[in-house]
């Protein structure tokens, strides 16, 4: 009933958005979009058409924002739903790691039809986290209880593997040449997945117990890692097989999410400063974009050329950093 009311409210209201000038950089325009309250936007994804999708984890819905109008629509994913991640697939549809029902979900962007691929029952609850598509049309996903898996939507074939060091599999991403890497938060490592056999090879960052939470690739296929425990951002170069690590600004930073934009600038969410951080690998300089709301709690970042989107899970907003 509560969800229906929220959906109705969202459909009726065009929600206001706020724009503010960032302190860090005049070339970045920041705009915040207020969302229906109580959803706790966890992850966000923007399509080539500019439409933004987000997981309203607390209310079990997928949200759709039209940034041109501020209009928000909410699509219920089921009574037990608690969606964690959302990405845009090669079919331009939002794909969801639906933790509440232990399933991979596709939402048709036109009809809003919800299609679900449950994990094998024998696996039990895996705490689905994040997903990524490879270049062969298959979706790879992580389950934080210690698994990763693969679904071929064309055939419905799904395989799930035990993560090599147990629980912790978290963020996952695909490089421009199609390699898939994931991060293990509890396991403090990243892993490269063999796309044919499914085997995961552990790659240890130089900082012990760093808490690798999310990964993203730059245009050269180098893997950027947000380290929650250490407050570092680190970069793994698969060709040279070497690491480079930088400490984020502040006394005790905590790097939650990482995303590399179209200009190869690295964006991170830093919780101690309640800020988004932009890192320039060429100059090795950090810029901070503090949120204007306390407890923004940005848990993931995604974008498209000229736009970086951050869901402020603690204050029910989506914030875009326009870099054009």
């Amino acid at each position: 009933m509560r969800r229906s009311l929220l959906a109705l409210l969202a459909a009726l209201l065009t929600l206001p958005s706020a724009v503010w000038a960032p302190a860090a950089s005049a070339e970045v325009a920041v705009q915040a979009y207020a969302l229906p309250p109580g959803g706790g936007p966890h992850d966000v994804a923007v399509g080539a058409d500019g439409i933004v999708w987000y997981t309203a984890q607390r209310t079990g819905q997928l949200g759709r924002l039209d940034p041109a109008t501020g209009q928000v629509d909410l699509i219920p994913l089921g009574p037990a739903a608690a969606p964690h991640g959302v990405i845009i697939g090669p079919d331009a549809a939002p794909w969801v790691t639906e933790g509440g029902t232990n399933s991979i979900v596709r939402v048709d962007p036109r009809t809003r039809e919800v299609k679900r691929w449950p994990l094998p029952e024998a696996r039990g609850y895996v705490n689905l986290n994040t997903a990524t598509f490879d270049k062969r049309g298959r979706i790879w996903f992580t389950g934080q209880n210690g698994v990763y898996g693969r679904l071929d939507p064309a055939t419905g074939a799904m395989q799930v593997w035990d993560a090599p060091k147990g629980r912790g599999a978290y963020g996952i991403a695909t490089t421009p040449d199609g390699e898939v890497y994931y991060a293990s938060l509890a396991g403090s490592h990243i892993a490269r997945v063999d796309l044919d056999t499914g085997a995961a090879t552990v790659i240890e960052p130089p900082t012990k117990g760093q808490g690798a939470r999310r990964v993203w690739s730059d245009s050269r296929g180098r893997i950027w890692v947000s380290e929650w425990n250490s407050g570092n951002v680190s970069r793994y170069d698969p060709k040279a097989k070497d690491w480079k690590t930088w400490k984020l600004p502040g006394d005790s930073p905590r790097a939650y999410a990482v995303y590399v934009d179209d200009k190869d600038k690295v964006w991170l969410s830093e919780w101690s400063a309640n800020a988004m951080i932009r890192f320039d690998p060429e100059t090795e300089k950090f810029e901070a974009f503090p949120s204007d709301r306390r407890g923004a709690n940005v848990r993931q970042i995604l974008g498209r050329p000229g736009e970086v989107w951050a869901p402020e899970s603690g204050v029910d907003r989506l914030v875009v950093y326009r870099t054009k």
Partner: protein, 128 residues
């Protein structure tokens, strides 16, 4: 209502129908970040062994979020009642909490997992 640490110790016992075995199943939703195994303390969340009766934000060796530390300083103690409210909707109970759990909507699941946690370690008790 929070139980104030240093004040009267609350009384609790397992409610009728509570099922710690089912609670262990529910705990799979917490398992990625928490453990009740003594010494398993390098996870993203604090070890929950003996959490019932503990003042919030005080587990030694764990780096808590500011809101948990502030709540503990204001007197929040993890009783069955406060755990129930927190687990039902963490963000509503403690805005700004870092815990990623979106909430356990089912009251029976919450009761069972709290029973499981209560049995995981020593808790404060007194005779009525």
């Amino acid at each position: 209502m929070w139980l104030l640490a240093g004040g009267a110790v609350t009384v609790w016992c397992s409610p009728a129908g509570a099922d710690p075995a089912q609670g262990e199943r529910v705990f799979q939703r917490c398992f990625a970040c928490h453990s009740v195994v003594a010494g398993e303390d390098k996870l993203p969340g604090p070890n929950l062994r003996g959490v019932v009766g503990r003042r919030a934000g005080t587990q030694p060796g764990f780096r808590f979020s500011p809101v948990l530390i502030e709540a503990g300083a204001r007197g929040l103690v993890w009783t069955r009642a406060t755990l129930d409210a927190y687990l039902a909707d963490p963000e509503r109970f403690l805005p700004g909490t870092e815990m990623g759990l979106p909430g356990l909507r089912d009251a029976v699941e919450r009761r069972n997992v709290i029973d499981y946690l209560e049995k995981s370690g020593p808790t404060l008790r007194r005779t009525p």
